[in-house]
Symmetry: C2
Subunit: 413 residues, 2 copies
């Protein structure tokens, strides 16, 4: 197990990384511009299909949901998973804005629909930025016709840039895969845990493909891919009002995903999603290391995931990793409070390849060796609960640095 973003080789065709992001698959065009929500930087992104798209989405589990999340959910329900375009603005989350915010979101979708000549329900929305502040609608509405005019296949890089808030780098990825009779491509972009300018983090992810796939199957694939990527990372445990992950399929490759090709499609979708999710972790506020916390030997996968999540979320573990301290005691103690039953006398803890705690007994003399592993930017922690052929799960996180605190303690104004 490694913090490397690539999915391990499995049976089946190779996934070939290709340049670009959301417009790497055929049938998509994008535009990005500055409409006036932010002071100067790009703040509006439009992604459109050349024709109708199949669509699926996963939204924040937070009870407090932003207007674009609510409207996108309504639209996907109304169309049963069809869409034509996705509009994303940065600089304003349109969250906690009440009925006015809902009206603004609906008006944004209607403006895109009018410019593209589709129904309003075919337009999906996402926003990221300051909470509790109204969208600057004149600016946003003025930008939409321009964005539609500028839609182009070669503007994917700009799209990934326009959705950034305090991300330090744009995040995109794409792979092409040979499906026997033809090949298809999966692309994507994401923005991560930039929480300083807005009131909180917003995680946005957009996955595109030129494979043809029915909406229910696309949704199933998205949920599977997310569980091994966007839902398997944690920066600081906070969940935003705006978190959204979209999947859009154009069918432009001519390759149709049926049940027999489904595993291959999920593998490609997961690969791109994991690449983006790990880029978010790597770009976490103040982060200097990516930490893969793997739990194995569990009675069931849910147990492994719960323990991995608790270890990955432990401030004591994250600060120890930051300081280069192979502190297996903190790792074991975090595992012990995850609410999952296991026998500490059968448990083992590894940092890198170094065994520090073996079936109930410390090997603290190996700590200096483990400290060497912690100098890497990609760090591996493993907790083995001792069940032979048990279940396993991995959660990725970053270390916790004094810079995280500095960034998030700064006053907004």
């Amino acid at each position: 197990m490694s913090a490397s973003p690539r999915t391990p080789a499995m049976d089946g065709p190779e996934l070939r990384p290709v340049p670009g992001g959301v417009t790497a698959p055929a049938g998509f065009r994008s535009a990005a511009l500055h409409c006036g929500i932010k002071v100067a930087a790009p703040d509006l992104m439009l992604l459109a299909g050349d024709g109708p798209l199949t669509a699926a989405a996963i939204f924040t589990t937070n009870l407090v949901r932003a207007a674009p999340v609510l409207v996108s959910g309504e639209h996907l329900a109304a169309t049963a998973g069809q869409a034509r375009a996705l509009l994303i603005n940065s600089g304003c989350a349109n969250a906690c804005t009440g009925e006015d915010g809902m009206r603004d979101a609906r008006q944004s979708a209607a403006a895109v629909a009018e410019a593209l000549g589709c129904r309003a329900e075919a337009v999906l929305l996402a926003s990221t930025g300051v909470i509790g502040v109204a969208l600057k609608m004149p600016a946003l509405l003025s930008g939409i016709p321009t964005a539609v005019r500028q839609l182009a296949r070669d503007r994917g890089d700009e799209a990934a840039g326009a959705i950034m808030t305090t991300d330090t780098v744009p995040k995109q990825a794409a792979v092409t895969v040979d499906a026997g009779s033809g090949s298809f491509t999966v692309g994507g972009m994401a923005k991560g845990a930039g929480m300083i300018e807005p009131h909180m983090a917003t995680m946005l992810g957009v996955l595109t493909t030129d494979a043809g796939i029915a909406a229910p199957l696309l949704r199933r694939a998205l949920v599977e891919a997310a569980s091994e990527s966007f839902n398997a990372i944690t920066i600081d445990g906070d969940t935003s009002t705006n978190d959204s992950l979209f999947a859009l399929a154009s069918a432009a490759s001519g390759v149709v995903i049926d049940e027999s090709r489904y595993p291959l499609f999920v593998r490609a979708l997961t690969d791109v999603a994991r690449d983006l999710a790990l880029a978010i972790v790597r770009d976490g506020e103040g982060a200097t290391k990516v930490v893969a916390v793997r739990v194995r030997g569990a009675a069931q996968q849910e147990d492994a995931r719960a323990i991995a999540r608790t270890v990955a979320g432990s401030l004591l573990v994250k600060t120890a990793v930051h300081g280069g301290d192979p502190n297996w005691g903190r790792i074991l103690a975090a595992a012990g409070r995850a609410g999952v039953a296991f026998d500490p006398a059968r448990a083992s803890v590894r940092v890198g390849d170094v065994l520090l705690f073996e079936r109930g007994r410390p090997h603290d003399d190996a700590a200096p060796l483990a400290a060497v592993h912690l100098r890497n930017t990609d760090v591996d922690i493993e907790v083995d609960l001792g069940e032979p052929d048990g279940a396993e799960a991995t959660i990725w996180t970053c270390d916790l640095s004094a810079d995280y605190v500095r960034i998030n303690a700064e006053y907004r104004t």
Copy 2:
């Protein structure tokens, strides 16, 4: 609700703060010395009753429990809540030490019992310090007879000092209360979240009283008091292998706690426990502020507590408080991910007395006023879920500073 440690005045007699800690109540003596576990500082504390004591304890919920926790639990079960003494060492947690650690703990209790002339099961134990390392038994055993010889009523301050690890101040408190026919005293000491020298935090608390009380009633009172004190604070969400809270009653005051006096006793016990618990928060690593997070208007108290705990645990909230930013968006978003159903459109958020979000609508213009409140060292945050006459709960925490990270990232050796 304020972060002030004092329980609000209620019907009934006044609680009068008195000097001292665990030996403030009659019938207790303590000793503290350096036996050689630490390099130079006091590392051994013995607290003994002049005669038999009633005893109760609450231990860590962590699955990984240190040997002294396991042995103390066995002893309390064997005696049905009777004890004569409590031995605490600092500098070594005797955790993750396997069967050898259990043997060492049992031998420590036997040595105290021999010196005091009681049965081994009447000796309770706690340890705090480095994990995964064996107790220095020759040092510890050599210290026990000396400690027994030095037992004195006026050595409570030294006891509170000897259980410290990286605490910056000793923590003790005591109150006397008039029970009509005579008065009784409750005293206590605690050590807190000093996690740098050991691998992790250990929270230890010891409450003493000269009231007479049956073991089952003492246990009930301890659970009640803890739920409003030690179990209502969070520094960083990590739970140690050694957390222990003891209550010991000598009956030396002649006041017997029956059902009619029980509420008064719980009030006094809670008052001292809360005083100590808030002292732990105030002395949290890198902490500069104590934050009282109160949730009201909930359907039931468990809901209020879950939301208060999530808000108090949010890194984004804790860093915002540290930076003096009245960031109600982060507070609301943390409430929204607590797993409790509520209607955001009915919710309100206050920082100090300043209303920043009222039944679904932001009052962001009031933020500068709320920022003034955040300059205090005692900060109040309130989330009202909007249920009239709803349930409420308060959780206390500290802010998260860059110093916390610095302290916990330092390499142990």
